[in-house]
Symmetry: C2
């Protein structure tokens, strides 16, 4: 049970962008150096975040990335939902869960409850609060 490096990197970058606060795009290079994340690896992460609409990209010189939404609204759950291939605690509650035992499985309700608990907690942390160390 673990959050991937990709997810942790994504969250840190989003927090860094929130901390900057500005509307000027921050280049990938600066983010990678500042957060000590491999440049090329972060590139892939930013693409995913952009496709999900969490950041906007500007190409060309003086380009970079900036937050699309309000850091007081965007939460850790929003970010991790994008990067984590499966956000489910157990495969049983994942996207392509097709367990023949599902009907009579004694543990399924617990996995659902666990998913809910995780989601609830992650929704409590906004980028703004994380950036300010609250």
């Amino acid at each position: 049970m673990i959050v991937s490096a990709k997810g942790r990197y994504a969250l840190r970058v989003m927090i860094a962008l929130a901390a900057k606060g500005g509307r000027e795009p921050v280049p990938l290079k600066e983010l990678a150096l500042g957060e000590e994340i491999p440049h090329k690896f972060l590139e892939g992460i930013m693409t995913e975040l952009a496709k999900a609409g969490l950041v906007e990209s500007t190409r060309g010189k003086n380009g970079g990335y900036r937050l699309t939404g309000d850091p007081k609204v965007c939460t850790a759950a929003d970010v991790l939902r994008v990067t984590e291939s499966s956000f489910a605690a157990a495969a049983c509650t994942g996207a392509n869960a097709e367990c023949p035992r599902a009907e009579r499985c004694p543990t399924l309700p617990m996995w659902r409850a666990l998913d809910g608990a995780v989601d609830d907690l992650l929704k409590k942390y906004t980028l703004d609060e994380l950036a300010r160390g609250i």
Copy 2:
């Protein structure tokens, strides 16, 4: 973020043992067939559970496994702590976490909170309750 098949199997077997309720050891073969878990794979899982003291094994003819403790006391958290190599939500809070950024990491407190939330929830489910479908 996922609980491994090993963990899910372990939990199901522990629940099956709780459902049996008796003090007679249940042979591996019966557990494997009943829970549709590969025999040899389950063998390794049972060894881990036995080493952790959650089940007692009896060797030889008419041998098998039985719960060591009270199913009203033993929880899902107790079981999963044994089988999951790392029970931490993020590597940052794992056993051998040695991140140089730990001191100033804005996300570390959140990972700790997440660990706590997961543990709290899993501690709420006893084997007895799970077996009875509560």
